[in-house]
């Protein structure tokens, strides 16, 4: 036996030596060949949503810092990007930040620049609806690259385009408004409503969510008005808004919201908050503070976010994730209170989803990124506001919250009052790949049953 051991050692030592040398060589080869993962981000630094550029990028950089070992270059300027960071030994390199302006044409030009000139492997973005439809179509033509959404919420992006390499962990505009129709009809007692929405894909989707649910529970939408995005003088559109309705749903967003409300007041007198429901822009940090206290009492659709949620996870996300990596997010000031913005959260969860996918394949994006794309569709996130998983079109199934505006110490504030878990893009079977896309006349006002009607939960919030 001992002779056998002796002979074994004689045999084993050279093998061990060769093995060690081979392992060292492999390690050095791996280190030398750990190709960087080239990441591009597409944000809007101009146009109707240009003010939220900092929030978009803070979401991306925070996720990279929290989950991929990166660090913000400047904790007061998200546009400076990040340094460091790696996944599976592959450095995560920021090759460029695109500057779009809510227009699909610009988004495509910037995407081409980021992907083709700067050679990005993956892209995070864009911000808004029609941009995302164009980018999803671009993604379809570039199957060896991977795209995750930023915060765009047009329905067509995933339900109709169905690019196999485009992933969206955030909800669409209709999902975000789940619960509002039920609220308006069954709690506020609205029998009739008017709708005003920007004339483009996201706002059509946002309005579609309210209209589908309000009509499903028996309400009637008597007027739909669609001012073009980037309108500066809303007076003619405000004049068209009827006053003989029980309430008005407003899906005018970004730079247009305040001018629209001013024009409305000039046309019809002071706003009665109880007769208004707004979409996510009425509760978005950075935007709602600009509203007058006169709109107190109005309800606002969310974006799957609830900054005041009294859970450890929600508070950790804002204070110990966004608030940890950024002190301020320009131009709106302190970072932590902006964590629940659609834009910060949207870019954050999409980046996080991408990181989880990359971690699952140990940063290996070889072979046309097929492995990454396969695992990305199965990634689920336990976010500060609840769980998110993807459906077969790679679209998030998300928790939805809605808020109410009120005055606190004389200032306008937001509190979360409604919660509906697991809202999917079909909106309770209302939409499918075969139904027309949301638009000026779709969906029609018809009664139907929706699974969450009458089941809205009321989450515990921090006062």
């Amino acid at each position: 036996m001992s002779r056998l051991w002796g002979r074994g050692w004689k045999l084993a030592l050279p093998i061990l030596g060769v093995g060690l040398v081979a392992a060292m060589a492999a390690a050095s080869t791996f280190a030398a060949s750990a190709t960087p993962i080239k990441v591009a981000v597409l944000s809007d630094c101009e146009g109707a949503f240009g003010a939220f550029d900092g929030q978009d990028l803070a979401g991306v950089v925070s996720a990279m810092s929290e989950y991929a070992g990166a660090k913000p270059v400047n904790p007061n300027d998200p546009r400076k990007g990040w340094t460091g960071g790696s996944i599976g030994g592959h450095p995560v390199k920021l090759v460029g930040i695109g500057c779009s302006n809510d227009r699909a044409d610009t988004a495509i030009k910037e995407t081409k620049r980021l992907m083709e000139q700067l050679g990005a492997d993956v892209m995070i973005g864009p911000l808004s609806g029609d941009e995302s439809i164009a980018v999803a179509n671009y993604a379809k033509q570039h199957p060896t690259k991977t795209f995750v959404d930023g915060s765009a919420g047009a329905q067509d992006t995933t339900l109709k385009v169905q690019a196999p390499n485009f992933y969206r962990f955030n909800g669409d505009g209709a999902q975000w408004n789940a619960g509002l129709g039920d609220l308006a009809h069954n709690k506020l007692g609205w029998k009739t409503a008017a709708v005003v929405a920007d004339d483009y894909s996201f706002a059509w989707t946002s309005a579609a969510g309210f209209i589908a649910e309000f009509c499903a529970v028996g309400g009637k939408v008597t007027k739909r008005v669609f001012p073009p995005l980037n309108t500066t003088d809303y007076s003619s559109y405000a004049q068209q808004m009827p006053t003989d309705v029980d309430g008005t749903f407003v899906a005018v967003g970004g730079a247009g919201l305040i001018p629209f409300l001013k024009a409305y007041e000039q046309a019809h007198g002071p706003i009665d908050g109880k007769k208004f429901i707004g979409n996510l822009f009425w509760g978005t940090p950075g935007q709602f503070e600009q509203l007058s206290a006169r709109v107190a009492g109005a309800y606002a659709g969310g974006a799957g976010t609830a900054g005041d949620l009294a859970t450890k996870e929600a508070q950790k996300y804002s204070k110990r994730v966004i608030g940890k990596w950024f002190k301020t997010i320009p131009p709106f000031g302190a970072a932590a209170p902006q964590a629940s913005s659609t834009f910060t959260f949207g870019y954050f969860i999409n980046t996080w989803g991408l990181i989880k996918g990359l971690q699952a394949v140990k940063g290996d994006i070889s072979g046309g990124q097929k492995k990454l794309q396969k695992v990305l569709g199965k990634v689920s996130l336990q976010t500060g506001y609840g769980p998110i998983k993807l459906d077969k079109n790679r679209q998030g199934i998300i928790p939805v919250y809605y808020q109410q505006l009120y005055t606190k110490d004389g200032k306008l504030a937001v509190k979360t009052v409604g919660y509906i878990p697991n809202v999917d893009q079909t909106f309770g079977g209302t939409f499918s790949s075969k139904t027309p896309p949301p638009g000026r006349t779709f969906p029609p006002c018809v009664k139907r049953s929706l699974p969450w009607v009458g089941k809205t939960q009321h989450p515990k919030v921090i006062p």
Partner: protein, 345 residues
């Protein structure tokens, strides 16, 4: 043949040879994105320069016409999209239809605009451009704000992303043909009459020429050129929306023409090259970043001050300084000059 024209031809031949060999010399991005873009922007700018240099008409409607061709093509060839007509027709039939519809619209525009001259012509064509932009922005049947995505280039040109060189060569061939055609047309009786109309419309009318008809036909002919650029643009971009033909896009093409030189057809591609390169590379400079239009505005200002005849004019002057003899070039017809001529009449 003068020394100057020999030098011009040698440079032209060299540029063409370089363009033909570009895929062997430059990166895919340079060929597929920058040079292809240069070519179709050069084509649309050449339609403007043709009208300006030989017809005395500085038109801001060329981008609208190029957009009309693009929107027609997008509506006709796509299938299963959520926007547009989704007719799914044969792509080559769509090209013919796109050019035909563009020319039809151009005839209507031309009939209205060709009675005016100078700054008034410029303003009317600007109005056409704005109308086209608002039409496609508002009429969701054909486009709407988001426009039409996923427009494929036909086989064997496409898929463009897999074969960027093919579209580049198509754009190069179209550019050469357009250049040759424009050079030919200005030497035909129609072209000579058009130059007569540019120089003295009253005299031409008294000689029995139908000035309005000539201007309209020239406008329609330039629309064919602009439509070709529009077709190449949507094949290249795969997408078109109202922002593709907004005021900024109209001014971009005017800037290209002015930078290149409003009185030499070659200036169209020269201006387009400078514009595309500045647009692409200036964005990577932190100081410039998204302020490209400020930069191009400064370049525009410098060109207008230093050489009103554009980069082509600088070359002309350099040739003069080098004593290379004089070649005949068409006289510039700027918006500022044309009313003066009519005032003289």
């Amino acid at each position: 043949m003068t020394t100057r024209s020999v030098v011009d031809r040698a440079i032209g031949g060299g540029a063409l040879a370089l363009a033909a060999l570009a895929p062997l010399i430059f990166s895919d991005y340079w060929v597929g994105a920058l040079l292809t873009q240069t070519l179709f922007l050069g084509i649309v700018a050449s339609s403007l320069i043709f009208l300006s240099a030989y017809g005395g008409m500085v038109s801001l409607a060329q981008v609208a016409l190029y957009g009309i061709a693009g929107f027609v093509l997008g509506n006709v060839v796509t299938n299963g999209n959520t926007k547009g007509l989704n007719l799914g027709w044969n792509p080559w039939l769509a090209v013919v239809l796109a050019i035909a519809v563009t020319v039809l619209v151009a005839v209507l525009f031309g009939l209205l605009a060709s009675r005016s001259v100078g700054i008034y012509f410029l303003m009317i064509t600007l109005t056409f451009g704005v109308i086209a932009n608002l039409f496609f922005g508002q009429v969701t049947t054909f486009s709407g704000f988001g426009g039409i995505s996923g427009i494929p280039a036909p086989h064997p040109i496409g898929p463009v992303d897999e074969h960027p060189n093919r579209l580049y060569y198509v754009a190069l061939v179209v550019s050469v043909l357009v250049y040759a055609l424009l050079r030919y047309v200005v030497r035909t009786p129609f072209g000579l009459t058009l130059q007569g109309v540019r120089d003295d419309p009253v005299r031409m009318a008294s000689l029995g020429y139908n000035v309005v008809l000539h201007r309209t036909l020239a406008f329609a002919f330039a629309a064919v050129v602009a439509a070709l650029a529009g077709v190449l643009f949507v094949w290249w971009n795969g997408h078109i929306d109202p922002a593709s033909i907004d005021l900024s896009a109209m001014i971009d093409v005017l800037v290209i023409a002015v930078i290149g030189g409003l009185y030499r057809l070659e200036g169209a591609w020269l201006g387009a090259f400078v514009f595309v390169m500045l647009n692409n590379y200036s964005r990577q400079i932190d100081f410039v970043g998204p302020r490209f239009h400020t930069l191009i505005g400064l370049v525009f200002l410098a060109i207008v001050l230093v050489s009103p005849a554009g980069l082509a004019g600088i070359w002309e002057r350099a040739q003069g300084a080098l004593g290379l003899g004089g070649g005949a070039a068409p006289q510039p017809a700027t918006a500022a000059e044309a009313p003066t001529r009519d005032a003289d009449v």
